[in-house]
Amino acid sequence: MSPSQHLSDADFERFRDQIATFPEQVRTVVAELTPARLGLRYREGGWTAAQVINHLADSHLNALVRVKLLLTEDNPTIVPYDQDSWASLPDGRTEDVEDSLRLLEAVHRKLTYILHHVSPSDRARTYYHPEYKETRSLDYTVSMYAAHGLHHLAQLRSILPAEAELPR
């Protein structure tokens, strides 16, 4: 879908519901990971499970900020960030992920509440991403972050099986 395209109501509700249930899905996977596996990478050179979890909290906090900006300003330019540098900070690497899980829960509940209370015209409101040079609608943003969550959830699940040999 193009960044300014609109979703059908059915698609919008589907993505909104994915956003609503996402933190619980991450919790379920993390509950099955032994602490030792939080330091494993889903592939050589990729992030560890802990980095993925900390990244999800940061990324989706950015999503909440972007949604609030587009609802309160006329096509605001958002602040991009270097996600690999963020993931390399001690905060991004820590295997103490409880606060990231809680941040993810709080942010998703807020996003879900907002998405239950926006009008069709709100859904067409936009922000501008200066790095990608894209004007993105709320509809597109919702679809993008729903997919972003599932993308990383699949990585976390690949670290799950206790017998899988994975790089540290």
Binding site: L61, E73, L89, D99
Partner: protein
């Protein structure tokens, strides 16, 4: 519409660019306990007082809690930006308009309390891990139009939290 329209004294405050060991320890302690202080204050508010403001036209206790979660979320993003880029410009936003979006305009504060606790937990540990060089890393504050070091952001963060906590406490029954 309730607003925060009173001018923010933080604009005129001078925070040290690098905190002394004692100042830093004090600030980190305050950063760590603020979410508990906010939660305790909210729990002491009767439902009838949740709709009251600390001053005529000012924010109610739920609006103050949502504001703290929102703004400390922005502080968090600015901190990580300052630590990963040379002299970035921090995120700008309209705080009065942010208080009017759907999730910020409700009496239920559970999500904001959870967000505040999670953010302060991460911020406490990240600030604690910083070297002196990292504590001096600057970002441009978009509203005040001047540079803040990471240590100054820590001071601003604590000041901001305590400023609004004091407002919430004035709403408590005597």
């Amino acid at each position: 519409m309730n607003t925060s329209s009173a001018p923010t004294p933080a604009a005129t405050l001078n925070f040290p660019i690098l905190l002394s060991p004692e100042e830093r320890e004090e600030a980190l302690k305050k950063l760590e306990i603020l979410p508990v202080q906010v939660r305790t204050t909210v729990q002491e508010l009767t439902p009838a007082r949740m709709g009251l403001s600390y001053r005529e036209g000012g924010w109610t206790a739920p609006q103050l809690v949502h504001h703290l979660a929102d703004i400390h979320g922005v502080f968090w993003l600015r901190l990580k930006l300052a630590l990963t880029e040379p002299h970035p410009i921090g995120h700008a936003f309209n705080q009065d308009a942010w208080a009017e979006t759907p999730e910020a305009n409700i009496e239920a504060v559970d999500d904001s309390l959870l967000m505040l606790e999670a953010l302060h937990g991460r911020a406490f540990r990240l600030f604690l891990s910083l070297t002196e060089e990292e504590r001096l890393r600057p970002f441009r504050h978009p509203r005040y139009q001047r540079d803040f070091t990471a240590d100054q952001l820590l001071s601003l963060w604590v000041w901001h939290g305590e400023h609004h906590l004091a407002q919430m406490r004035t709403i408590l029954p005597n």
